[in-house]
Symmetry: C2
DNA sequence: TGCAAACCTAGAGTGAACTTTAAGTCGAAA
DNA sequence: TTTCGACTTAAAGTTCACTCTAGGTTTGCA
């Protein structure tokens, strides 16, 4: 089964220009054309676009994805490079998850802070006891000082 | 205690230009100047810069952080807006964590794939049984089709 | 007094990832 | 046959968050 660029864009919740841009950057070397010159996407192309979206979500820049594409085109000689690439990426994603958890701790603390301030009608909440879990979230977040005073 | 912009940049592992840029964008309305016009940062300013870094890490754009700063300057009238803002941000961070977990599943699958391919010296690993946990990670990642064939 | 280091501003430049525009082609329906 | 929508390209434009440059001041030490 083949798909047009518009169908693929719909399917992957993106738009045709973005897919053309990826193609121009060399990320889609296997996409074929019909007689009229229009791109023809098969299941494999769509699957690969999903992978690209995933790699992008993991913070990988386009030029690194391009490198990966080039390696896959080079075949089995480049298995080691691709293996290394994914192990590096795994570490990056794990670091990002840890950072995001810290950020969530901060946001949770701030949610409690403003929930409390909203009840009191004031950001001076120094009279209120901070629940244990909120205190822990705040400390984990790396946001310690001041903060109870303003913001 | 006061700090110069260079000291603050060091402390927060960023650089002076970035801090000046935040100031220019209105993110640091409380930073004072010395007689010569140089910025003078106190503990509170530094704490607020940490908060900015955290909000940025949560994916909040500068102009939204600016909005938050403006609200804090408006005082207790805007508690509800700030409360809403942090609750929205909490949802965004939670969504991002879920997306990142999916991405990690994909990367874990790919790590297994290339570890196996490296052992075999070939990306045709169809003869190899996929461990249960890897299969689950692959399925959670949303990357199903093809993939065992190439890449 | 002279010099270097660190600060200042305004404004230009950068890089990433799109996104839009202009001008054109293709294939099917009326 | 013409008209419409979806495709094509090259190239310019946009947005974001810096980052750098040029030219100038301030501060502290020898």
């Amino acid at each position: 089964m083949n798909y047009t660029i518009g169908e693929v864009a719909n399917l992957l919740d993106t738009n045709a220009s973005t897919i053309r841009y990826y193609d121009k950057e060399g990320l889609l070397p296997t996409v074929e054309r019909d007689r009229g010159g229009a791109r023809k996407f098969n299941e494999e192309d769509i699957s690969f676009l999903r992978l690209i979206q995933c790699l992008k979500a993991s913070g990988m820049p386009i030029k690194d994805i391009k490198q990966f594409v080039d390696w896959t085109l080079d075949g089995d000689e480049t298995i080691a490079q691709r293996q290394q690439m994914f192990h590096n990426q795994k570490q990056r994603v794990e670091e990002e998850m840890a950072r995001l958890q810290q950020t969530l701790d901060m946001v949770n603390y701030k949610c409690w802070f403003y929930d409390t301030a909203a009840e009191l009608g004031s950001t001076d909440i120094s009279c209120v006891d901070m629940p244990e879990d909120i205190l822990e979230a705040r400390d984990r977040s790396g946001i310690y000082e001041v903060i109870n005073k303003e913001q």
